[in-house]
Symmetry: none
């Protein structure tokens, strides 16, 4: 079966946002075993939108549209699909009630006082379509089946589209596929992209079923291993030997083989298993590391508190970093990182601690201590390991890479 | 003049990489004042590639292709363009010499020892085309002018494409444009997307030059106002009255009119102007707010420290929140938020403080205090303002919205 993606939005054509939806949906289509031949992006223009829908329906079995389902005049995806298919729009009472309850909950007022007339536009559905619930916004999604074609409409914001796709659209599309695809995402941290690929070039060149495809992320490399078969069990048994081979080659550099599992989840799971608590002491990352840990629901048993100590005074006051250490070695040093981790653990009584101090730029670098120099200290039950990093990139990228390196260092210490 | 982008590469269709080239080139086309109506992505398939080139030439004046110029069999963009235009490929001696010298420099060996036959494929040019130098790789770019259409071919890797575009293609395209474009991004926080648009529907409907286009972000609405004229000054003078009108309608809800300025930058700027310091006390956001503030380079004069107090014990220990308050009103309450802000300011000696406490979910909600209930306390010189939010979405979305609301609340208190 062939799929075509149609992203709708003038903001994409003006370059205001990067089309990450197309990337996400392409990955998912590959995972489902569908052939994706075209990704098209058009603006909020009725003529061009209708033409693109018609072209897609002529050459593809499944058309997935994202964007243009909002309440404004510019939003016309639903209307264009209905027009091309010769179908009417009608008020969907269930959607209307959902929108009303969203506004009641959000503003704690009578709906009529806060809603504007154009909000009800989002409650219109294409005749005969399946309405797909949106738990993260007011615009529902739709599935239309007509003349052997499937048309799927989803909202544009990724934080609405992705949960909707995972909860409703993926399971729906999965049923259309007569083969079963099983995949595993082998997630590696601590090995560069080109090194990782070179290390398994023989496996990539020899791939048939299962297939193996690399995905590069900031400071991580992911390999998706996918096999198809008649049954889930058979497909799973096909991927197993390849995943084992990857473990033989990458060992502890692999932190997960599960699509949805994040590095912070793995770290929190390791802490839970050992019944350890954790605390943090952040300087240049300024809360980003702890923010990542708090992404994990139910983190409260492991994480009670964290310290953001941006100034030298704060490092001394809350973490007991010695004035002498700061004067002799500087705030960005192995010694300061270690004292930060020890101080955070002591003050909070936590079993483990991560401290980060570095120069994120763009200012503040010297020849001796350039922008991108970062020290991470990881304490596990009194034992401290310090790692020096020399990172490239802008301020945010340096901070992001520091957070990932810190999580990975703690993971390795806990193994 | 209309432009169409055609990205070539199976790796884009499989979702292995995000199409940042399309985003970059779209921005540049907008800057050049060209109308970009379609972005299309196809794989390394001759039939579909030729079809997409033909379609683009039928409906657009300028076609920009990226990718598929490499040395392998899969790379066929140049061949497909030549085929559609009915032109021949011929060896370009200058390109051949450039490729040879690249290999000599890179490997410090005789070219014949390191080059493979398929590398010479990159020295073939489309008959009558302009060859565009690539200073960062072996594949040159090409410009073809034929039948009133302009076709531009560039390599796919962004680190080759972007310098080539900036050095050669942008100046070439600029000469085709006789108008100058100036735009302003009016950024609004605290007004919903549909309300904001309803409020200026008359302006949207009446737009000609300048134009006005809405962009929705999480908890924000941006309007881009763009004017074209013969000179930069004239274009700037055209956008001014419309920006002023938006100020009349949205007042303090507008936090910036600059494309690159973020909400956290505005907050830090306001703090700098008053010579105020800031501290934070985060519970459910767990460092995300402080992480946003630290995005701003040079924040160290305003922000010395922050507190991540996830547990009740930490709220009492570091911020002096009373046990009685927690017992009577709970950790997620107006009273606790206020005591967190006062405690953070007292402990750190900061002039301003923001405290956030809420239920980010997915667990932990009750009928009385549902998931999404968040309290923000903002202290400015002893004065505390507390705001109650009722947010929707997943754990991360609730936390993101809380951070933006907190930054916006402080901004308003500082005005």
């Amino acid at each position: 079966m062939t799929v075509e993606l149609l992203s709708v939005g003038t903001e994409l054509l003006l370059g205001n946002i990067v089309n990450t939806n197309a990337n996400y949906l392409s990955q998912k289509c590959a995972q489902l075993g569908f052939s994706l031949y075209y990704q098209v992006t058009v603006g909020d223009n009725e003529g061009r939108l209708c033409e693109s829908i018609q072209t897609a329906l002529n050459r593809s079995d499944i058309l997935i549209l994202t964007g243009g389902l909002g309440p404004t005049q510019d939003d016309m995806t639903k209307e264009a699909v209905a027009k091309v298919l010769g179908l009417e729009l009608q008020m969907d009472e269930a959607s209307k009630e959902r929108i009303a309850s969203y506004f009641r909950f959000r503003y704690q007022k009578e709906v009529s006082a806060v809603i504007t007339e154009n909000n009800w536009k989002q409650a219109l559905k294409i005749d005969g379509s399946i309405v797909v619930e949106n738990n993260n916004g007011t615009a529902p999604g739709y599935i239309v089946e007509t003349n052997g074609k499937t048309i799927i409409l989803m909202p544009g914001p990724p934080n609405e589209m992705i949960p909707m796709f995972e909860e409703s659209i993926y399971p729906y599309l999965e049923k259309k596929q007569n083969k079963v695809f099983v995949s595993s995402m082998v997630k590696i941290c601590g090995v560069g992209e080109s090194k990782a690929e070179t290390d398994i070039l023989d496996l990539i060149n020899a791939q048939t079923n299962p297939t193996i495809a690399p995905y590069a992320k900031t400071s991580e490399v992911h390999f998706r291993v996918t096999a198809s078969a008649d049954t889930k069990e058979k497909a799973a048994s096909l991927i197993l030997p390849l995943v084992e081979e990857l473990y033989r080659r990458f060992g502890d550099n692999i932190y997960s083989v599960l699509e949805e599992e994040t590095l912070e989840e793995v770290v929190i799971k390791l802490l839970k298993n050992k019944n350890y608590t954790i605390t943090t002491a952040e300087s240049c990352t300024g809360g980003l590391l702890t923010g990542r840990l708090v992404n994990v629901a139910g983190v409260s048993e492991q994480l009670k508190e964290g310290f953001i100590t941006y100034s030298n005074e704060a490092k001394m006051k809350y973490l007991g970093v010695k004035e002498e250490t700061l004067a002799t070695y500087g705030a960005v040093s192995e010694q300061t990182a270690e004292e930060m981790a020890r101080g955070a653990a002591r003050t909070s009584g936590a079993d483990t601690a991560i401290a980060i101090t570095g120069i994120a730029g763009p200012e503040g670098g010297t020849q001796e201590k350039p922008v991108g120099l970062v020290y991470i200290a990881c304490l596990v039950k009194e034992q401290v390991t310090v790692k020096e990093l020399r990172l490239k990139g802008n301020r945010l990228k340096i901070r992001d890479q520091s957070v990932i390196a810190a999580l990975d260092l703690l993971r390795r210490q806990l193994l």
